[in-house]
Structures are given as C-alpha cells and as structure tokens.
Symmetry: C2
Subunit: 200 residues, 2 copies
DNA sequence: CGATAGTGAGACAGAAATGTCGCAGATGCT
DNA sequence: AGCATCTGCGACATTTCTGTCTCACTATCG
C-alpha cells in the first residue's frame, strides 16, 4: 500500500514534537513506517525535520486562511483561529526545540512572513480599538502563540481536555487572569449584530 | 584557575537553551571550558543535562522565595516574580526541548512540586478575589509560564529589551490584550515607575 | 622554590546514529 | 497470470558523538 505523505508527515510531526531529538528509527516507528521508507520519502534527518516544519507552516497558513485573519472581522477571526490552534502550537513547539530551523533561509523567510501576517492581524485589531495599543503588536503575537502552545501542553499533561483549549486560551489571552475584568468579554459571533466599537 | 560551578552551569544552561541538541564539545566551548573539564565537573551528557535542569529548578525556587509567593500579598509577589522571570523561562525552555527530563523521577518530583507551589499561589489569588475563578489555577500557571518564556524569546529575537519583559508580561497576563480593560490595572508599587535597568 | 591541584589539548576506542543498498513480499493494474 | 511499484527487513560502511586517558602547563600554597 502506498504511503500517504500527509499522514506520514502528521506522524513524524507528532513524533518530533514529543521528542525532538529522537533518532530516525524511533521517528519512523512512531509514524508506522520503516526507516527506509521514511528516508525515501522525506530524505535524511535534516531534510526530514525541515520538511516537517515546512508542512507545519503550511498548516498554520491554512488555519489563518480559514479563520480569515486578513480581512474578516477581527474578533470572529480570532475565535476561529483559536478553535483550530493545534498546528500553531505544534510549529512553535518544534521551532523552540530546533533552533537550527531558523538557519534555513527558506524556512526563516516563511516563518517571518507568518509572524508578520499574524502581527498585521493584531494591528488591525488595534486600529479597530479592539486590542490595546499600549503593547507592541509583536508581543501580542508572542503572547497568543505561547499560550496556545501551553494550552496544548496542558492537554498533553492530562490537566485539560482538547475541547477546553479554545475557551482557556480565549479567556486568558483576551481578558487576562485578573478577576475584575468586569464583563469585558467581547460578544462572540453567535449573537445578533453586536455593534463593533469604533475608536473615537 | 578553578572552575566556578555556578558560572559553569550558567554557561551550560545558555548553551543548552540556545541549542538543546548541541554536542558536548559545543556546550563546553560555549561555557569556556574544555570538554574534559565539563565532563569532570558535570558528568556525561545525560547527567549534564539533568544537573543543569536541576540547577534551573533551584534558581526558580529561589526566585519564588524572594518573591514571597507563598505568604506575601499576591499582587506584590506577582510583580516581584515577573521582575526576575528569566530562570523560569529558561527552565521551561529546556523542559520543552528535552522531554526525557520528565522521565527522571527526582526531577519530575521537583518539577511537580514547583508547579504546585505556583498553583497554590494562584489559588491564593483566587481566594482573595484578585484572580478570576472561572479558570483552573493550573491553567493560570501555564499561562504565566508560557508568556514569560515567549517574552524572553522575543528579547532574544531582538524585538524587545530585557527591561521591557516585566511590563509586557504583567500587562498581557493580568489584563489580556483587549483594549477596554478599563484601567483595571491593579495599583502596585512600581507599576507606573520607570523601567528598572537590567544587565544584558 | 618545590609540591599540589586543576585545567586544556590531543588522541583513541567504543557506541550510537545515519545514509545506503539488495532482496523478499505485498499490492494493484493490465 | 504477469508485471510494475512500493514497502519492510536486514545488513553494512561511514560519520558523529561520547567516554576516557595521558601529558604538559599554570596557578596557588606551603
């Protein structure tokens, strides 16, 4: 039976994120293929990691597309984004564990493009008055990314279920951990056309 | 000249965090020590990583102590905590890149103890009404930890200075990224003050 | 000044991981 | 059935990393 490249990449991605330094043998086993096949399809270890990270970036791009972070209403896009946040978490995970990835020009460029895309999203939110302006948009992207990552980490640790991730991330990222947030919880896309605040 | 174990561990820690998979030769070089000495003082690669992580946990413990997260007023302790957040960031960093660490019983126990200590801190804040109660305290610890980590990551990337970290983390963790937070920023010593100088 | 302790440099063997190959077996198509 | 394609298995050579040892050098102390 032929190997589904997508499925293979998924398996490799999981193996790599759960143990970034694993030898190719373990990676292959985790992906249910032989070491030979793994090598035939994705190349040597270095190429393999790069290919996997590239695939993750693709996934993130697709999530961004689906969420419509470029043009759709900011808050709604935000909710769709965190609804499907695993690819983002996974890519950050691998990136942290494998700094060499930043030394691959092509990947670095794509990563930087992704970051800027997300940053523009936050800038848009700031201009609309939804996001606070006293923090650099870059920091907002880091804040979101890191919390998405840790949310899935918590799931992995067994302290939460996958279904809780969007809610947890939404609350912590948007409103923070202080109690007095005073119902600042923004209306979510379900309710009727709630007026989106325009800056005055 | 004799080797200062502390200094050596610092160097190794930096080398490991900036490249978790580095061979011992690189690590030694980064710490300005010969590979032989590194091995003499900290043992083989595995022991080396474990010793370093253990040292990081110690650092975190000390920071927690100094901040007084166990008994001091919650918000003040919080500020002192994020004022000296680098050890926490570094330990999380290494932990993510080296999941095998969790397989060392002693380290796992200490890690779990640290987590619970921080969790109790948040529980205390919740009971005081300072932190929101609709989020699991465990998640609050993950949220803080991840953002501390990403803040220093951002510094490393050159998008912020080390002195900005406390402010960025404080704002994002406590209040979130929404604009309307309505000045819920809790008053605290130093919250409005000028940024504190910090070593590079 | 001599002795002691600690470090660095270099070398070397053993272990581990990687890249590669050939061959057998399974699957699917004609 | 016959053929082409792809995979798994096992083996091998090569490279890389690690653990270890020896020896020379330096600093500190008695």
């Amino acid at each position: 039976m032929e190997i589904d490249r997508e499925e293979l990449l998924r398996g490799v991605a999981n193996a790599l994120t759960s143990n970034p330094g694993a030898p190719t043998g373990e990676i292959a086993a985790a992906a249910n293929v032989s070491r030979a096949t793994l090598h035939r399809v994705l190349g040597g270890r270095e190429e393999l990691v790069e290919a996997t990270y590239g695939w993750m970036l693709e996934q993130c791009g697709r999530v961004f597309d689906r969420a419509g972070i470029d043009h759709e209403p900011v808050l709604e896009a935000f909710d769709r984004l965190i609804e499907d946040s695993y690819p983002l978490a996974q890519s950050l995970w691998l990136l942290i564990a494998t700094p060499e990835l930043e030394r691959v020009p092509e990947l670095l460029a794509r990563l930087e493009a992704q970051d800027q895309r997300l940053e523009r999203f936050f800038v848009r939110g700031q201009e609309e008055g939804l996001f606070r302006r006293d923090l650099p948009p870059r920091w907002l992207t880091y804040s979101l990314g890191s919390q998405v990552m840790s949310a899935w980490y918590m799931v992995d640790d067994g302290y939460a279920g996958a279904r809780d991730v969007p809610r947890l991330v939404r609350a912590a990222v948007l409103e923070g951990v202080l109690a007095d947030a005073a119902g600042s919880a923004a209306e979510t896309p379900g309710s009727a056309g709630a007026p989106r605040p325009k800056e005055s």
